[in-house]
């Protein structure tokens, strides 16, 4: 079965795979996570807002993006990004947006919907009395949120936020559809050049499995620690 398995192709290409491919994947994952959590938290605050139009806009955005495939979202933003950039810089013609910026925008905006639902649950888990106490002490909305509600919500939700980040790390592989050189993209280029599909894709699967499994163990440990404190 593995008799003509060519380990040499991995030895030849691992630098390219990790320093080009995996570096891109990790950079995109971390930045999209940061952007996604910030935007997702804002969306969650909007969804829970007492201002109805705000709640409605955020709710619609989240529900629509959650009901269509990520691949379709990637295409949407890939073609929309030049027009959005043109609108931002007041240009008459669509502006060229690089592959990295376009996919970063996509993943931050898309994962924000999932982070939003997590943060919403987190905010809702804080007793209402704490918000009232904040207002009673004379804090305004942003102060109450920033100093009282969000730090606790965030802390309670850290394990789920991290689990979602592992999902994001796996999702980043889908930039393959734009022929971008992420980890999978790099592997598929080598695989096709050398005709070594079996070796490369098996290797990619093993690397993903080890990294995701290790991360999920860390999250599980963290979950136990937080559970005791609470």
């Amino acid at each position: 079965m593995f008799s003509n398995f060519d380990y040499n192709v991995i030895e030849r290409s691992w630098r390219y795979l990790f320093f080009d491919g995996m570096a891109f994947t990790l950079r995109l994952t971390l930045l999209a996570m940061a952007g996604g959590i910030v935007f997702g938290t804002l969306l969650a605050m909007m969804r829970l807002s007492s201002i109805k139009p705000l709640a409605w806009i955020a709710g619609t955005y989240v529900n629509v993006l959650r009901s269509i495939p990520l691949v379709l979202v990637i295409f949407w933003f890939y073609f929309l990004a030049p027009y959005m950039a043109a609108w931002v810089v007041h240009s008459d013609t669509p502006v060229r947006v690089g592959a990295f910026a376009s996919s970063l925008l996509t993943f931050a905006m898309f994962e924000a919907c999932y982070y939003c639902e997590i943060m919403r649950a987190g905010i809702q888990s804080i007793p209402r009395g704490q918000v009232s106490a904040g207002y009673a002490m004379g804090l305004n909305y942003w102060q109450t949120m920033g100093h009282i509600v969000l730090p606790q919500a965030f802390r309670n939700m850290v394990p789920i936020l991290l689990t979602q980040t592992i999902v994001l790390y796996q999702d980043v592989s889908l930039v393959y559809v734009l022929s971008i050189t992420d980890f999978v993209g790099a592997a598929s280029k080598v695989a096709e050049r050398d005709g070594r599909l079996v070796e490369m894709y098996t290797f990619v699967a093993v690397v993903y499995f080890i990294s995701c499994f290790a991360l999920s163990l860390v999250v599980r440990k963290l979950q136990n620690r937080i559970a005791i404190v609470r």
Binding site: M1, V64, R66, S67, I68, P69, L70, V71, L72, F75, W76, F79, L80, Y83, A86, W87, S91, D92, T93, P94, Y114, E117, I118, A121, I160, T163, Q164, I166, V167, Q170, D171, S173, L174, Y176, V177, V184, S188, A191, L197, V198, Y201, T202, V204, A205, Y208, F209, C212, F213, S216
Partner: protein
């Protein structure tokens, strides 16, 4: 900011000669639904089996079930699809591998896509089935044993009928996930809905009309599934339970 909108494009003939662009999209929708339904059937079958063995008193069976779930959860769907499509035919005995590779065009990619989506989702179904069985009070299992039922009978007549009805809402959202995940099959040239929209965009250059149509169709399909599931949930709800849904959603799609 000069995008040229043309909403009549759906009725224009597509260059592949099969009909209008709308026709292309509808055929794509058909493949999406066929792929999703078959994969869901496979996912339910495997998921229930694996979910059940993770709750049996046999430790080694539980371990196998856990390993199964971890395996499918920790590898990206795209990579799993490539494993099924490119790698699996090379690893099975040569005769079978050649037979898989020589399947006529849509099936050669469609069958690996069904297997991939089905097994991928089965790991998630297994997780829910396990949670459903564990949510039942211990007394139910004991009552089954006390009545003289064997272990398989306890599962068949006592535990599973309750657990499956309790987890029905999450099984429904898993079906919505399969519909979304089926778009990944475009990477191995299954012309499902997203791929159909993509080809419409490439031929007609009407980017946003093509993707708008696909988005609207996905939303409608979603709506139909949600309404259907709600109907089924109401029909089979366990009398006496307040609600079977609710609780924070797990991470994922």
């Amino acid at each position: 900011m000069h995008y040229h909108w043309n909403w009549h494009i759906y009725w224009a003939q597509s260059p592949d000669g099969s009909g209008t662009y709308l026709h292309t999209l509808v055929v794509g929708l058909g493949w999406t639904i066929a792929l999703s339904l078959l994969a869901w059937a496979l996912a339910l079958l495997l998921g229930i089996i694996v979910g059940v063995i993770r709750t049996t008193p046999l430790r080694w069976l539980e371990r196998i079930g856990n390993a199964y779930v971890e395996l499918f959860r920790n590898i990206p769907l795209l990579v799993q699809l490539f494993l099924w499509y490119f790698v699996m035919p090379e690893l099975v005995p040569k005769g079978l591998g050649d037979w898989i590779k020589q399947m006529p065009p849509p099936w050669g990619a469609f069958v690996p896509a069904v297997l991939c989506l089905g097994t991928f989702t089965s790991a998630r179904v297994a997780e829910q089935v396990r949670a459903g069985i564990n949510s039942l009070t211990r007394g139910q299992r004991m009552a089954g044993t006390a009545l003289g039922l064997t272990l398989p009978q306890t599962y068949r007549y006592v535990l599973l009928p309750m657990a499956l009805r309790i987890i029905l809402p999450t099984l429904g959202s898993e079906f919505l996930n399969i519909i979304k995940n089926s778009a990944v099959a475009l990477t191995i040239n299954v012309v499902e809905l997203t791929a159909a929209a993509r080809s419409m965009q490439e031929y007609s250059f009407q980017v946003f009309e093509a993707f708008t149509a696909a988005t609207v169709i996905y939303l409608l399909v979603n709506l139909v599934v949600v309404v259907l599931m709600r109907f089924i949930e109401r029909r089979v709800a366990v009398p006496g339970l307040i609600s079977t849904a609710g609780g924070p959603k797990p991470a994922g799609h």
